[in-house]
Symmetry: C2
Subunit: 66 residues, 2 copies
């Protein structure tokens, strides 16, 4: 699964720590999702989408391997 978190963060000028604080997770959680080390829960995806004012589908996309 791909994601556009890094780009969305840049557009809102948020650091990983800022973003983590906003949605109540650790900075490492954001970093790990961003770098594809793990797949977030749907609750987390919805919260990220909420912060970025986008849909989950705009931020996360399936890949062949999923």
């Amino acid at each position: 699964m791909k994601n556009r978190i890094k780009v969305e963060r840049a557009e809102k000028d948020l650091s990983q720590a800022d973003l983590a604080g906003r949605i109540g997770v650790s900075r490492q959680t954001i970093n790990s999702i961003e770098t594809g080390r793990y797949v977030p829960s749907t609750i987390l995806a919805l919260k990220l989408a909420q912060v970025f004012e986008k849909t989950v589908n705009e931020i996360f996309q399936l890949e062949e391997t999923d």
Copy 2:
């Protein structure tokens, strides 16, 4: 988190087992998500949305407690 899986399933006339088969998970996984026993991964949410031809946000919605 609320979800509309039961309704979407009804609209497509799919049993829990049918749906499970389509996205490659067990029937219990579908049942557990549907009855709110647990929150699916974002990959699973995207696959469900794909089957229902809707966005993840149309199928899953945050609640206050999330």
